[in-house]
């Protein structure tokens, strides 16, 4: 009898969730027992955010005993399977899209499609695709950030250039920049992943989001002509000398000085680069952002790595876990945890407010309104780990020795046939 009452309470609460904190007291009545959370938000700022969320949630539900374990972010990538396998916690952190595929297939994540049917979840539409596998949703997002081309507005102004929207304009801009004795793009491929960003964009702009995802899932051979077209487009830039020299020796941070000192005009990077560039002395007048231009007639797909919460299928306190997920995605919480003094990223909830920052605002607008192709999670998250590591090595090699393309693609195809078996 009591449990039925509880369920009724939850249903009631859920339907009125949008009303927000005014109902916090009544939520508290419903939940009791233990809620075990393992989080990978181990860096100082995210850690404070996670602890803050648990404190807030705990305040709303005083009878609930929340046990939070924060695990090192890197270590969690190898520990999650163990943690979900034996004596699983109720709620865990993970990543969206193909990264969650193994855990969904192994039945370790709980299906949370019922949450996504609630009206409050309509505000999360931009990532619904990334949370969907087999027509069901398996978790909720709490933050993401945009990728795109950050450029030196002062250099563009000096050369009379404007933000390009097509590949032809992009190349024309680049030629003008090269003619002025600068490089078009800075990049540091020492740790490989930065090249993945270029591939994501050129491939999805050339062949579309669906093709890119099929490739990521191993359904398309690397030697496919459409993949070759992607590399051919990329090669146009490489042959122009658009990228800085010796980029394979720099980390992404070490490639920043080229942009800050004006030796390169732009940087395809995630929004986290802005803080570093500002530290380097670039003002918001000198720095601006544009969406990666169109190449073929396909919808814009954007890289926006999404961090997520999931419920373990073996969760002991399913009611509390679901309520916690509702709390995570609520407009108020998303605004709070993504604010400049917390994570400093984009809220996924379209109703959330974002800080007074032109890059966050442009990114939020781009992802909410102009990413109809879909949201990619970035090369090393969309592709299975092993394929991603082979793939990124190949991409780096291609950027340095574009003539090796046949060899590289054959190698990647070999890897694909072995890895996706």
């Amino acid at each position: 009898m009591k449990s039925r009452k509880t369920t009724a309470w939850i249903a009631l609460c859920a339907s009125t969730l949008l009303a927000g904190p005014a109902l916090a007291e009544s939520h508290g009545m419903a939940l009791s027992g233990d809620l075990r959370i393992i989080s990978d938000m181990s860096n100082p700022a995210p850690r404070a955010v996670m602890e803050g969320m648990v404190a807030d949630f705990g305040e709303m539900h005083p009878d609930l005993n929340i046990e939070l374990t924060i695990v090192d972010r890197e270590a969690w990538k190898t520990q999650i399977r163990n943690a979900l396998g034996a004596n699983p916690p109720d709620v865990v952190n993970w990543y969206a899209a193909n990264r969650m595929l193994p855990y969904v297939n192994a039945g370790l994540f709980a299906d949370v499609s019922d949450l996504w049917e609630e009206p409050a979840f309509e505000a999360l539409a931009s990532t619904k695709g990334a949370m969907t596998i087999n027509d069901a949703q398996w978790g909720v997002p709490y933050t993401y950030y945009q990728w795109g081309i950050y450029y030196r507005k002062d250099i563009f102004d000096e050369l009379g250039l404007s933000e390009p929207t097509t590949w032809e304009e992009e190349k024309a801009n680049c030629q003008a920049i090269l003619d002025s004795g600068r490089k078009c793009y800075t990049i540091g491929t020492k740790f490989l992943w930065t090249a993945g960003g270029w591939f994501d964009y050129i491939n999805s702009r050339t062949n579309g989001y669906d093709f890119h995802m099929q490739l990521a899932r191993g359904e398309i051979p690397w030697t496919d002509d459409r993949v070759r077209q992607t590399f051919a487009n990329w090669r146009e830039l490489i042959d122009m000398g658009a990228f800085i020299d010796d980029h394979q020796t720099y980390s992404w941070q070490e490639a920043l000085p080229f942009m800050v000192n004006g030796e390169a005009a732009s940087y395809l990077m995630g929004n986290f680069a802005v803080a570093a560039m500002r530290d380097g002395g670039l003002t918001d007048d000198q720095l601006d952002f544009y969406q990666f231009p169109k190449i073929a007639e396909v919808d814009y797909a954007e890289d926006a790595p999404t961090d997520t919460f999931h419920i373990a299928s073996g969760a002991q306190n399913m009611d509390a876990a679901k309520e916690f997920l509702r709390f995570v995605v609520s407009t108020e919480n998303q605004t709070k945890i993504n604010a400049g003094d917390a994570l400093g990223q984009l809220p996924v909830n379209a109703n959330a407010e974002i800080g007074d920052d032109k890059f966050l605002q442009q990114g939020f607008d781009m992802l909410s309104n102009n990413a109809s192709g879909g949201i990619m999670q970035f090369f090393d998250r969309d592709f299975p780990a092993e394929m991603a590591s082979f793939g990124m090595e190949g991409l780096q090699e291609f950027m340095v020795f574009p003539d090796n393309l046949d060899d590289i693609l054959a190698r990647l195809e070999d890897a694909r046939q072995r890895i996706y078996k």
Binding site: N43, N261, F272, M277, G281
Partner: protein, 282 residues
């Protein structure tokens, strides 16, 4: 006498020595100097590519201030002390006793046990990573200082015993025999005769183990996580955010973390020298 003291060599040799020594010293200290230089730079220098030049502004107080007052560094330093000191005491005490037993008594298997201690030193500890981690988890010692201490003691005792046993072997055995003739109990021989003679060895070993354990990174990363148990070597990475490496703060943190072993060396230098010359000037 080899090597010939530099004062007795030709003038040319002296000159080249005097000019090469500072050069070699600078070369050798370059990484340290770079870290020291990094630690007083503002973050913007790294974004601007000013790695090796002079700092654009002098941020010693800002950087070290953040290390001491706005991070978990003090806590990590305390953890390091709480891990290192018990380990030094434990490893030295155990190995002094084991070394005494192996060095003084003749019994079956003496040599075998001694060889096992030596052989233990040849096991690369990386291959123990997985079993040791599982063991600490099963014993509920994962992510605790106790777990790290116990493991360090167990692992260091092998090397320490080798050191101690050989040192005790080199002591004049008649001292022990004389005490036995007087009817002194064995533990009293250890405590009143052997241990005082071992002081230089104890001091040298303590300094050595202190630096080993203080500088340990591998096990700190494998067996602990977070500021509750992690020592300073692993904790330094906390200055990195998810996307960016804070070189200036990590450098400042590294310098702070490196000070205790250096201080330890200077404080115990006398014992080091005593230990080195003990056999020579008799």
């Amino acid at each position: 006498m080899f090597p010939t003291p530099i004062e007795k060599r030709s003038r040319a040799a002296q000159l080249s020595y005097q000019s090469l020594l500072p050069l070699a010293l600078i070369l050798w200290l370059l990484p340290l100097l770079a870290v020291a230089n990094f630690s007083i730079k503002p973050e913007s220098d790294f974004v601007n590519g000013n790695y090796w030049g002079l700092p654009s502004s002098f941020d010693l107080f800002a950087n070290y201030g953040r290390v001491f007052f706005e991070s978990n560094m003090p806590r990590y330093l305390l953890n390091s002390l709480l891990i290192t000191i018990p380990t030094v005491i434990g490893a030295v005490a155990l190995s002094a006793m084991a070394g005494f037993a192996l060095g003084v008594y003749r019994f079956k298997g003496n040599l075998l046990i001694f060889f096992m201690f030596i052989a233990g030193n040849f096991v690369p500890f990386q291959i123990l990573m997985v079993p040791v981690r599982d063991l600490t988890i099963d014993m509920n010692l994962y992510d605790t200082k106790t777990g790290l201490i116990l493991f360090h003691i167990a692992f260091q005792t092998g090397f320490c015993t080798l050191f101690m046993r050989n040192f005790i072997r080199a002591l004049p055995f008649p001292l022990i025999e004389a005490a036995r003739v007087e009817g002194v109990a064995e533990w009293k021989i250890f405590w009143y005769v052997v241990l005082p003679l071992m002081k230089p060895a104890l001091a040298a070993l303590a300094v050595l183990i202190f630096t080993f354990i203080w500088n340990d990174y591998f096990w700190a990363v494998v067996l602990t996580q977070g500021p509750d148990a992690q020592p300073v070597t692993a904790g330094i990475t906390e200055f990195n955010s998810q996307f960016r490496a804070a070189y200036h703060l990590m450098s400042a943190g590294s310098i702070v973390a490196a000070l205790p072993p250096v201080a330890m060396f200077f404080l115990m230098q006398k014992h080091f020298i005593a230990g080195l010359t003990l056999g020579a000037v008799k």
